[in-house]
Subunit: 218 residues, 2 copies
DNA sequence: TGTACATCAGTGAACGCGCGTTCACTGATGTAC
DNA sequence: TGTACATCAGTGAACGCGCGTTCACTGATGTAC
């Protein structure tokens, strides 16, 4: 599909063959380095070595392109969480194992945000939502499913009371998300790494306790 | 300073008298309705009824203007939190009162975000940080001080162990911030109001417990 | 009390930029006969 | 096995937009004498 001519990389054929993917990939790379603002249709085309107009054969426009990029970023986040979970050592005690799951997901979330701030910001960037076109259901996200499973398991083990089970996903998600955005994007971006790490551990500890324990406070 | 001539509001004098403030106020109004992207120097000048060039007598440029707007937004958030706290009934029991403080601050944070999404997003918008110009110290924020005081009080009352006191501000902040951004900006923007309210209550409960209780979990 | 003059705070026209998008087009591909 | 032709996937030039910003300017204000 490509060949080197006079020291320059050129397309061998007039037709690209996989332009839609190539554009999305290039646009994702732009997002990686500059966040959602950097996702520019013309620049993506430039990177691929194609005229800007060519993009319109595969996307209805800029909004269509960035939607794809956003989904890739969300998928990358989910994959990172899954990997963090897989990297740990399973515990034999089911209680410990359930907590490990929760902690790994939270840590994976935050680690991804810190490692790939551009992709993270893009995954949650503000796009003019198209009301008739359905938003990706969060229950379809593999990471969300793992989280829900971990919480279900905790309930089955008696670590979470049945009446306190609802909305636990949101509790966990909000905590990880807040931590990530404050450190990546926000006012806590400048705190020293050691403090940041301590705050992350402390926060994950606190939220796990908050989810697990019954409520003895008025 | 202003008079009505032929049914149109016109400046009575060539000099405005308070243009810097007027521009910041107009720009904040833009932020209120459209978030940080809507803070456009030319539009602010238009709203005030002044040429765009006039702004450069009072701001070095667009970045300077939006920095001021951002600070206003942060101040508005802090004020909202303070008001939420003041609106509640103080409890005689110091334990209950300390918890009330924590909850009111969190609730004020989230309520502000939901009531004024544009201002909230602007308060935390990504601005090219000027390294030599010092970022506003968060300990200067009145809301942050109230939070820290509430946590100190809890420690004094024995509700928080001394060794678990550090980073509690971050724990609380992250939770409220995550909740706010997910609901305002993010993937949870479409959940029904009843679910949203329940999730908020549940999350605040959980985080307060997570902060207060000692850790019986391995 | 008046007047010259420096300074301050506005004006309007214009520039350059890069974007998303449209247009009329052309080269490549595949299919019917 | 060739060939006509519809269709697909690219091209390059151009448009309009609104922005931030600069320029040379002018009207208003205040101050020294």
């Amino acid at each position: 599909m490509w060949r080197v001519t006079q020291g320059r990389l050129q397309r061998a054929s007039y037709h690209h063959g996989d332009l839609a993917n190539a554009l999305t990939r290039a646009a994702t790379e732009l997002a990686r380095h500059g966040g959602p603002e950097a996702v520019v249709l013309r620049e993506a085309a430039r990177q691929v070595g194609v005229s800007a107009t060519a993009a319109y054969r595969h996307f209805t426009g800029h909004g269509d392109l960035i939607r794809d990029v956003k989904q890739r970023c969300q998928a990358a986040l989910a994959e990172h969480m899954r990997a963090e979970l897989a990297a740990g050592v399973p515990a034999s005690d089911p209680h410990t194992e359930a907590v490990r799951h929760l902690r790994a997901l939270g840590l994976g979330y935050i680690r991804f945000a810190l490692a790939e701030p551009g992709l993270f910001r893009t995954a949650f960037c503000h796009t003019d939502s198209v009301p008739h076109e359905k938003e990706m259901d969060r229950s379809e996200s593999p990471a969300y499913a793992i989280l829900a499973d971990a919480l279900d398991e905790m309930m089955r083990l008696g670590m979470i009371d049945e009446d306190r089970r609802p909305y636990c996903e949101t509790v966990a998600w909000a905590t990880a998300h807040g931590l990530a955005t404050l450190f990546v994007d926000g006012p806590l971006a400048d705190v020293p790494v050691a403090d940041r790490e301590a705050a992350i551990v402390r926060t994950l500890d606190a939220i796990i306790e908050g989810i697990c324990r019954p409520a003895p406070i008025a």
